[in-house]
Amino acid sequence: MFVSGSFSSFAAGDYPPRTGQFHPDFTLPNIEDNKPVSLSQYRGRKILLIHFASW
C-alpha cells in the first residue's frame, strides 16, 4: 500500500511518471486545514496536477 511519505516508487528520479502509466496515489495535507487529500479521491475526474512554489 502506498502511504503518504513513502514514495519509494518516485525515488531516484522517477518523477514525473511516464505518460500511459498510472500516476501513483499519494496523500498530502491541504494547506488550508491540514486535512488529508488523496489523488485517488478524484478518480473519475480529469485532473491537472501542478507542482509549484510561490517563488
Binding site: L28, P29, L48, L49
Partner: protein
C-alpha cells in the same frame, strides 16, 4: 482553465514544494487561486524542480506532461481515453493517511533507512508540529543507517529549520539544517528543490531570483481589495527577499569601528545569546558566504534591550584580502522602552582566492541591555568569531 474548473470538467490540484504553508496560502489568496493546494514541505513526491504539470485522465493514467494550453481542451478535456485493463487496475494501490504507530513499530524492527525515513515523513506531515523532535530522531536514524540517503538529509534539514522557527529552538538548529541540505545536495546535485532551499538563505551571488520579494506586494494588494491578508507566522528574512547580485565590495570605507580599542566591557554573563549560521557551510577560495547572526536576550537572566539608548550595532572586521558587505550594521529599536525580541543581521563575506583551511573573521556586537524588570542596564560588547571553512 478557471472556466473548465467552474464547468466541472477539470480538477486542478496544486502541490506546493516549500516549507511554510501560510506563505502558500498568502500566494493563493493574492492570485485568487480557487483550487485545492496540498503541502509537500519535505519533497516526499521526489519532484526535482518546479513547475511540473501532469494531466491525469479519469482512470488515473498520466496522459500529458507540460500540457499545451492551446490544445489542452481538445487533446485532453474533450478526448475519450480507453480504460486500463482490469489486471492493471487491480495492481493500483490506494494511498491513505499513514498510521504513525504502525510505521514506528516497523522502523524499530528493521535496520532499513527507508522505514525510519518514512516514519519521519509521517511525523512531519501528520503529527503535531511540536513532535518535530521525534521526526528529527527518525531521520537521524535513517542517515545513521545510510549516510548517503539524500532524501533523509534534506528532510532532516527541513526539520531543524522548523525547530529553529519554533519555541523548541536550539541555537545551532539553523546551521545544522544548512549542513544537512548541503550534504543532500552533494549526494544529488541535480535536485533543484533541495538546492533552492540553501539558495533561499544563501549569498546573493548564488540566488537564481528573489524568493519572497512578492510578500510585501501581495499583502498590499490584498488589503487594497478590502480583504484581510493571511498572516505569516514567520516573516521572510532579508536573504529570502533580496535578489541575485555580485559579491561584496568594501564599499563603506568611510565607516569607523565603534570600539577600535576594545574598551567596552564584555558580556560575560551572557545576557545576550548569539547564533551564527554560515551559508553555505564551506566554500572554495574566491567565493562568498552569507552569514546570519541572531542576538536574543537571555530569558533565564530576564534580559531585555534598552531602547532608550543607542541601538544595537554589529561590526565585522575581515582579515586582509577578505571583503565584507556591509561592515557596520545597526538593528532597529523596539517599539517600547524595553523589549526582548530577537534581532537579526545578515551580511556577506567574500574570501580571497588564496584563502585556505578554516579562517576566522572577527566581529563584535555592542548593545545596551538590562537585566530583570527595572534592573541594571549596561552597555556591553560581545565578540562573535565567524569561522569559514575553505574547501580546496
Amino acid at each position: 482553465m478557471q472556466q473548465l474548473v467552474r464547468d466541472g470538467k477539470l480538477v486542478v490540484l496544486g502541490i506546493a514544494q516549500e516549507q511554510h504553508p501560510d506563505r502558500c496560502r498568502l500566494f493563493a489568496q493574492w492570485h485568487k487561486l480557487n483550487w485545492p493546494i496540498l503541502h509537500d514541505p519535505i519533497n516526499v513526491m521526489g519532484v526535482k524542480s518546479v513547475p511540473i504539470e501532469v494531466a491525469i485522465d479519469e482512470y488515473g493514467i498520466v496522459r500529458t506532461l507540460k500540457p499545451d494550453l492551446k490544445t489542452f481542451e481538445k487533446e485532453f478535456i474533450d478526448k475519450t481515453f480507453t480504460p486500463p485493463e482490469k489486471d492493471a487496475s487491480a495492481k493500483f494501490e490506494k494511498s491513505t493517511r499513514p498510521d504513525i504507530d504502525v510505521l514506528r513499530s516497523r522502523a524499530k524492527q528493521s535496520r532499513s533507512s527507508d522505514t525510519w525515513r518514512q516514519l519521519g515523513d509521517a511525523l512531519v506531515l501528520w503529527a503535531d508540529p511540536s513532535d518535530v523532535n521525534n521526526a528529527i530522531d527518525a531521520y537521524t536514524q535513517a542517515v545513521k543507517i545510510n549516510p548517503q540517503d539524500g532524501n533523509a538529509h534534506f528532510r532532516l534539514g527541513v526539520c531543524y529549520r522548523i525547530r529553529y522557527e519554533s519555541e523548541q529552538r536550539s541555537p545551532t538548529d539553523f546551521q545544522t539544517a544548512v549542513d544537512h541540505w548541503t550534504k543532500a545536495r552533494q549526494i544529488e546535485p541535480n535536485q533543484y528543490i533541495w538546492r533552492r532551499r540553501i539558495e533561499q538563505y544563501g549569498p546573493q551571488s548564488t540566488k537564481p531570483y528573489p524568493f519572497y520579494d512578492w510578500v510585501q506586494t501581495a499583502t498590499y494588494e490584498i488589503r487594497k481589495r478590502g480583504e484581510k491578508s493571511i498572516e505569516l507566522k514567520v516573516l521572510p528574512t532579508d536573504s529570502e527577499t533580496v535578489g541575485p547580485g555580485g559579491g561584496p565590495e568594501n564599499q563603506n570605507l568611510d565607516v569607523k569601528p565603534p570600539d577600535p580599542q576594545r574598551r567596552i566591557i564584555r558580556d560575560q554573563q551572557n545576557l545576550i545569546l548569539t547564533e551564527v549560521t554560515v551559508i553555505p557551510p564551506g566554500i572554495k577560495p574566491g567565493q562568498t558566504v552569507r552569514v546570519h547572526v541572531t542576538l536574543r536576550p537571555n530569558e533565564k537572566r530576564k534580559a531585555h534591550w534598552n531602547n532608550e539608548a543607542e541601538p544595537l550595532k554589529l561590526w565585522i572586521d575581515p582579515p586582509d584580502g577578505w571583503k565584507v558587505q556591509p561592515q557596520l550594521l545597526t538593528a532597529p529599536q523596539g517599539d517600547k522602552p524595553e523589549t526582548s525580541e530577537p534581532r537579526k543581521f545578515e551580511f556577506e563575506i567574500h574570501a580571497p582566492t588564496d584563502a585556505g583551511g578554516i579562517s576566522k573573521v572577527s566581529a563584535y556586537a555592542l548593545y545596551y541591555v538590562c537585566e530583570g524588570a527595572g534592573g541594571t542596564c549596561s552597555f556591553l560588547r560581545q565578540d562573535i568569531p565567524i569561522m569559514i571553512k575553505i574547501e580546496q
